[in-house]
Symmetry: C2
Subunit: 340 residues, 2 copies
């Protein structure tokens, strides 16, 4: 039987008023000093009838949904999985639930998802910002729904609360590690994304080289689309035996992983001829045939901090919180691609 059981029916069957039944069923029996006998009777009948509370009626009345929306660009790699765990844990403790959706970097799709979350009166929204999606974020702000950016900021929306990995510091660590290995000729393979935390990787690349008095070869700085292949560029970069890099800093592991394969196909040895370090410690980097050293991203912590920030926003009626939380996490996972 489709659950059409309401508090009123239960109240009637139990021979009590709706409010009595309501209090019991929403766990406020104690607070309202309902007699244990009555409470038990109501609960028994509810169980017997297969009562399922109607969350929409509850939210409609209480003006809050108890749900935080989570908007990912995609669920690839393990990033979403890990950060979601952090988020759910932090929000669960406070009685909030999480619903998640993705938009595959499609601004229109994102707008649709946002509209849906707003219509369902989600109490807050956490999302991974991307430049083309700005309209949707502005839409959220207009409704005064608390918004938290996870993992990056947008230059165009500088006032939004954000929790992100301090990729700049991590990239510095990675670069200093490679420089410490005695490498002199550096190439950069990175994502062409222009968000601050991705630009930071290239900035670290440049500034660490300068600080170490090493040359920055602009022709060896290459960026790619997210799902792009680095094969062609790697082959080009290493075609001139007389003048080729001896180290690669990969802004995302995925580029480093592919590069290792291409280099070995070309007969170059890793790390003897070319040392590599990547960013993000993505699944794959640790496979025995790959062994790409990488800076680990603290996904779960990021998620949990973002959730906490969202909770702060929710607790603050004025929405006045303004936090830019950069998590410093500079753990280098050393693998064969950069052993001494």
């Amino acid at each position: 039987m489709k659950s059409k059981i309401s508090t009123a029916m239960i109240a009637e069957k139990a021979g009590v008023g709706v409010s009595t039944a309501g209090f019991v069923l929403s766990g406020k029996a104690r607070k309202m000093k309902i007699s244990e006998k009555t409470e038990k009777r109501v609960l028994d009948i509810a169980r017997e009838l297969g009562y399922v509370p109607n969350a929409m009626a509850k939210s409609l009345r209480s003006e809050r949904s108890g749900i935080v929306g989570l908007l990912y660009n995609h669920l690839k790699h393990n990033w979403a999985d890990e950060s979601l765990n952090g988020i759910k844990q932090a929000l669960g403790k406070r009685g909030y639930s999480v619903f998640l959706s993705t938009h595959q970097f499609d601004p229109e799709l994102q707008m649709k998802e946002v509209e849906l979350m707003l219509q369902h009166r989600f109490d807050a929204i956490i999302c991974i910002p991307f430049k083309e999606g700005i309209e949707a974020y502005e839409r959220i702000l207009k409704t005064d729904t608390p918004l938290v950016f996870l993992n990056d900021t947008l230059d165009e929306l500088p006032d939004i609360n954000v929790v992100a990995w301090n990729a700049r510091e991590a990239a510095d660590t990675a670069m200093r590690h490679l420089i410490g290995l005695g490498r002199k000729r550096f190439a950069f393979l990175g994502w062409g994304d222009q968000r601050p935390m991705f630009r930071a990787r290239l900035e670290a690349f440049r500034s660490c080289l300068q600080a170490a008095d090493l040359p920055v070869n602009e022709d060896w700085i290459q960026t790619f689309p997210l799902a792009g292949s680095v094969r062609g560029e790697v082959e080009r970069l290493f075609s001139d035996e007389a003048n080729r890099p001896d180290a690669i800093f990969a802004g995302l592991d995925v580029y480093g992983i592919e590069a290792i394969g291409v280099l070995e196909e070309m007969g170059l040895r890793v790390p003897e001829d070319v040392a590599l370090v990547g960013m993000g410690d993505q699944p794959g980097s640790g496979f025995p045939s790959i062994g790409l050293s990488s800076m680990a991203i603290p996904s779960e912590v990021l998620g949990s901090k973002a959730a906490s920030l969202a909770l702060e926003l929710l607790d603050d009626p004025g929405n006045k919180v303004a936090s830019k939380i950069l998590i410093s996490f500079n753990e280098l996972i050393e693998r064969r691609s950069s052993v001494r």
Copy 2:
């Protein structure tokens, strides 16, 4: 301003009745023969006031949420991403939205998520079944909420509608490919999961060997936990130079990927000494340093079919649909691990 704008307010401001405003705002102006002038006035005021329809009120009244819930065990690998795309596409066409959550194989967590979805009166639920989660599925069934299993069945719940990849056929294809390479001594590395579609991999292993009059060495059949490492077993299996496998069938790519690395560390050549084929074409198998041949899983198609099945269930008031859809998809992605 927090969106506290209701249809009633808009109606008042526009000088029309609530129902008129309601018809316009829910896109039924045409059907109700509202004059274009009135329609425009209402819409203008709605926009001006920043009206956001209240989905909970709507659902409460209309007794349907327009949401299909999706319950994954985790979001690792790219499986969730791809199947979600298929699901969203199929459901979007019919005006349904999707909300997703995960439970990390924790039955209690899954039960909580299910309870939440039921309370929110999700119109249907699609999930990846796991044995320990049975209680939750029974809970769903008791409320008469349409339920679709994606990617596998459960022996204990044979009547549930399901869409899954025909892993048996695919595994047959993989095994026949290895046998066609002339390999004689086969090892199996698989997930210890007991669901039918995972058992099918091992069944295919055995039956293909028997059909080809090749020996089945029970000691070379090894299963592992999902996140387990095959290193120890692979080292053991190949320690006896006089008697070791010349082919590995990996029930999941992840085991094959690690095995390739371990084998090469041990000085064995892939595929000359050992040929491998995996299942699922997970990200990583195609990395140049790995090159694991694999049977591709049609994730997006599976998602889309599961969504269609859910829609069928929704359309059928009696809930009488009973489909077990096994998608045959036997595409072998040939990589270096099994070239002739």
